[in-house]
Every structure is written in structure tokens, then in C-alpha cells.
């Protein structure tokens, strides 16, 4: 077992453990914080995969924005600090079953795929993944259209979120 494998296993365990805590912990703020640690683990996985840019963007977007947003949302939708009542619904056993079935099915199917045990080739020296990514995102031959569509999607989401969460009864104090 090489050092990289050990590091991977540590990170993977950390990520999965955090993920399990996200879905099981009773305190929602803790769940959100566990999500943060899961996201850190995923960022580390990206780093292991030599995707530095994705790793850093993962931290910026997921932890810097999305996780914070979750914490805000949790705090805005509570009557007191404690979470009362059961946090898991009555069909939880079905959920476990389906999840396990999905996991098993995925592994079963992947096992027969030829590239399953492939190892990565060395990155070529001087490989500039950021430059390539940037070009791919804005090149007309590659992904400029999805990129623009994503921008439009973000704008629409922005407007929609403001509209949905806006409370007309509260009004605008400026006016």
C-alpha cells in the first residue's frame, strides 16, 4: 500500500463518516457543519485527482457560499435552538434499503466495466489544466453554450429566489 493509497483511504473515511453524520445527526446546525467537513473531504479528493482548480472552487463555492446559506436557512426556520421531535421519518428503513440496493447495484454494474481497475497515467510535465479548462469553457468549439446557459440559469435562480423568499407583508422599510 503506497502513501497515496493511505491518504486516499483516510480522506475517504473522513468524507464518508462526515456524510453519514450529515444524514443522521439530530441537530441541523451540526448536520450543516458536518456537510462542511464532507465538502472539505471532497475537495481533498479533487486535490488528489490533480484538479486543483476544482478543489479550490469547491471550497469557495460550497463552503464559502452554499454551506453558509444552509446554516442561514437552518437558523431562519427554527423556533428555538433545539430540534424537537424525530428527525427521521417512518419510512426510514425503506430509505436504507433503497440506498443499499442502489449502492450494491452500482458496484455490481461497475465491477464488470473494463476501466474499473485502471490506474491513472502520469500527468505530462508542464500540464496546465486551468488554461485548458478556461479555453474549454469559452471556446465556441467546446462548451461556451452550456457555460452561457449556466449563467442564465444562475440569473434565473437569483431572481426566482428573491421572488419566492420575498415577504410582501413585511414590505420594504425604505419606502
Amino acid at each position: 500500500m503506497t502513501a497515496q493509497q493511505i491518504i486516499f483511504i483516510l480522506i475517504a473515511l473522513f468524507t464518508l463518516g462526515s456524510a453519514v453524520m450529515v444524514v443522521t445527526t439530530r441537530n441541523l446546525v451540526h448536520a450543516a457543519l458536518w456537510l462542511v467537513s464532507t465538502l472539505f473531504g471532497v475537495a481533498a479528493v479533487y486535490a488528489l485527482l490533480n484538479a486543483n482548480f476544482i478543489a479550490v472552487v469547491q471550497v469557495v463555492i460550497y463552503i464559502g457560499a452554499i454551506a453558509i446559506l444552509f446554516i442561514f436557512a437552518v437558523m431562519l426556520t427554527r423556533k428555538d435552538m433545539r430540534d424537537a421531535g424525530p428527525q427521521i421519518n417512518k419510512n426510514w428503513w425503506a430509505g436504507v434499503l433503497v440506498s443499499l440496493l442502489v449502492f450494491g447495484g452500482l458496484v455490481y454494474m461497475l465491477r464488470e466495466w473494463s476501466g474499473f481497475t485502471k490506474t491513472a497515467s502520469e500527468l505530462p510535465p508542464g500540464f496546465d489544466s486551468i488554461g485548458l479548462l478556461g479555453e474549454a469553457l469559452v471556446s465556441p468549439n467546446a462548451y461556451v453554450l452550456p457555460f452561457e446557459v449556466a449563467s442564465v440559469l444562475l440569473l434565473a435562480a437569483l431572481v426566482g429566489a428573491v421572488y419566492v423568499a420575498f415577504n410582501p407583508r413585511a414590505g420594504n422599510s425604505d419606502k
Binding site: 497515496q4 493509497q5 475517504a12 464518508l16 456524510a19 450529515v22 444524514v23 450543516a32 464532507t38 471532497v42 479528493v45 479533487y46 488528489l48 485527482l49 484538479a51 476544482i54 472552487v57 469547491q58 463555492i61 460550497y62 446559506l69 444552509f70 442561514f72 436557512a73 426556520t77 421531535g85 424525530p86 428527525q87 427521521i88 421519518n89 426510514w92 425503506a94 430509505g95 436504507v96 433503497v98 440506498s99 443499499l100 442502489v102 449502492f103 452500482l106 461497475l110 476501466g115 474499473f116 481497475t117 485502471k118 490506474t119 491513472a120 505530462p124 467546446a142 462548451y143 457555460f147 449556466a150 440559469l153 444562475l154 434565473a156 435562480a157 426566482g160 429566489a161 428573491v162 419566492v164
Partner: protein, 102 residues
């Protein structure tokens, strides 16, 4: 070196955990947390496929970037809906919001 299978299994496991969260949690915010986990699992897959095939073809990373954008949109709208729901119905429990039933 780490074989590709490890990443795929990690992603599958993360996906299943997230799916459990979506299926079992009562709180709408917690359901969205589960969705996040699933999306992250997908992203791990995308990036690992980039790394384990032709690294000069950036499709995997590009798709993961687009997943970021989609996630951001989904979370903002989803949480806005949750907050709106809390305002109107005074609850964030997904099962209490069942007015569409017969």
C-alpha cells in the same frame, strides 16, 4: 497508485448516503443537504473520469463546473422555497406539506 475503482466506489457510497438523507430526513433543509451529498458524489465521478481518461479533454472538469452552477441555483431556489414554506405554513417538515394529496 490509486485505482479508478476506489474513487467510483467512494462516489457510489457518498451518493447512497445522500440518497438515504433525501429519503429519510423529515426536515426540508436536511433533504437539501442530502441532495448536496449526491451532487458531490456525481462531481467526484466526473473529475475522476477526467483524470483517468484523456486529461487533455476537459469535459469532466467542465461538467463539474456546470454542476457547481446548477447546485448554486438549486440551493438558492430550494432554500428560498423552504423559507417561503416556513413563512406560510410555519413548518419545515416535508411530510407536513401534503396539500396535494387526495
Amino acid at each position: 497508485m490509486v485505482p479508478h475503482s476506489w474513487y467510483l466506489i467512494l462516489a457510489a457510497a457518498l451518493f447512497s448516503v445522500g440518497m438515504f438523507g433525501v429519503l429519510a430526513r423529515r426536515n426540508a433543509v436536511a433533504i437539501l443537504l442530502g441532495v448536496e451529498l449526491m451532487l458531490n458524489a456525481v462531481n467526484i465521478n466526473l473529475v475522476s473520469f477526467w483524470r483517468y481518461s484523456d486529461v487533455f479533454s476537459m469535459s469532466g472538469q467542465v461538467f463539474s463546473i456546470i454542476v457547481f452552477a446548477v447546485t448554486a441555483a438549486e440551493v438558492s431556489v430550494g432554500l428560498a422555497l423552504v423559507i417561503s414554506m416556513y413563512r406560510r405554513r410555519n413548518t419545515v417538515i416535508a411530510n407536513d406539506v401534503d396539500m396535494l394529496k387526495f
